[in-house]
Point group: C2
Chain length 333, copies 2
Amino acid sequence: MNLKPKQTVLALSGGVGGAKLALGLTKILPPEQLSIVINSGDDFEQLGLHISPDIDTHLYALSGRDNQEMGWGRRDETWNFMETVRELNGEDWFQLGDRDLALHVLRTQQLRQGRSLSKITQSFAKAFGIQHSLIPMSDDPVRTIVKVKENTKSGQQAKIENLPFQRYFVEQQCLPQVVGFSFDGIESATASPDFLHRLNDPDLAAIIICPSNPYVSIDPILALPGVRQTLISSPAKVLAISPIVGGVAIKGPAAKMMAELDVPATPAAIAAHYGDLLDGMVIDQLDSSQAQTIRSTGLPVLVTDTMMVDLQIKQSLATQTLAFALSLSGSNG
Amino acid sequence: MNLKPKQTVLALSGGVGGAKLALGLTKILPPEQLSIVINSGDDFEQLGLHISPDIDTHLYALSGRDNQEMGWGRRDETWNFMETVRELNGEDWFQLGDRDLALHVLRTQQLRQGRSLSKITQSFAKAFGIQHSLIPMSDDPVRTIVKVKENTKSGQQAKIENLPFQRYFVEQQCLPQVVGFSFDGIESATASPDFLHRLNDPDLAAIIICPSNPYVSIDPILALPGVRQTLISSPAKVLAISPIVGGVAIKGPAAKMMAELDVPATPAAIAAHYGDLLDGMVIDQLDSSQAQTIRSTGLPVLVTDTMMVDLQIKQSLATQTLAFALSLSGSNG
């Protein structure tokens, strides 16, 4: 059950969870058959530097530079820059490691010189020895905003506050109650040229939505003008791997967000969230009882081990997900 | 032999040599009586960051953060940022330490936000616990250019190349043959408000030109519109300490530059370079034979130990220089 030589696969990915499957996919597909499109809605400016957290997570994970002990950031990191920033009374709620900083400083310099985020990401990936294409979803600024309930005294009407994603995620540690999301700049943004090119490839066989947070990692990608419609009309099979396993999110605030949005934290709810763009759903064996619920909506389901605790399982999940996609399209080589 | 309570002193300084005397002066004068004006002609942009080498040298030296083993930069430094910059094929001829980087990143951010170099320097000094005023010579960009002979094949006419100072000093390690200097932007720059304020203080008793390179550390300060004339007409006594001792520069390329400019590397030549703005000259005891030559031009000379190998000598040289200035003005309290 293999791809035909010219067929291609597109992965849509966000942070740490998505990067795990992306790494698995790179181990089973050659560079010319796999591209990874990465959320840039998390990007923001800190200390005057352009930070692209999801892109950097992929640069580190796919080059073996990720810090597996911390679960984020870079291996062999030191923190002397931040220590001095604190000495100088600079903003210190977002930690920038000494090694990590090189990406931000060079990216900021090159963006100011007019180079696109796509070209910059490509050159960083190459320098890190990554063969596969890492493609930012857009070269235009899109900023994910988390709408949260402000703390108010009892009796007062609750106000809604707009928090830039990293303020919600890092500074406020996902504590505020989420009521919704918006993506600033999305109307005037366009999908990056490479993303559009791969999306419209007539040999595109599968689009794999990695087990990332649907609201803040995948939705910004899907919200880019034309992208969702192109996914629906594409002959390529679109699959999602549930980031929710056994009622919790493997990483990040997805389950907490779902609870606050009055959505059950289940794979079925994830499938319903993506709706008509899906051709299949991959869920964990812990959630096998959900398979029937999802199938009853007409959506094929693959039940397997999705807990990517080591490289072998990352690779195995990638293999099974791809085989599932090919089985749906009948394009079994 | 002390200053009167309201009298003030202004030091003009450049890099490491100047910062040594500046430190000595801070040990004998209270903050309200001493200000240090620092060359910003060495400033440049590297990796998109605004670097102010001479200002940072003073921030480190005056707060005890200077790296005395290396002779430049900051104590307890690490180099993981630069290592990653090299991994990413970024420009690496100018070394930026992980701790040092905090000054450059925060300064760049604040300059972009419209804050002046003076205000930024003031806040950094305060954060580092420095009580005395560190004043950039100007808030406007002035860039020292070293004019050097280009390498040409024999028989060809030698061409003149304009090297930005740090390219000459760091990248090319002062190897090219110097033929002159210019200060880009000097015509439209103004001395910083604090500099002008201290310079026009009616209680200004002495202006001390630190033992810095006259061509590239002090001349940019003197070349600011109006500054040289104000020094000449000021009732305050203007003294220079020779950076040349026994025919060599204690630090940096001053002696090499003098040789290339066909000027003898002597304290007398330094005195002649500053010319009519001086009221007195301080030279090392190694050069006592020069005292008569200088005195024969009508300029008073103090001969003493100017080799500031420890804090005691820095402080002693500061004390003697100040006493010499006061003796010239007869304002002996």
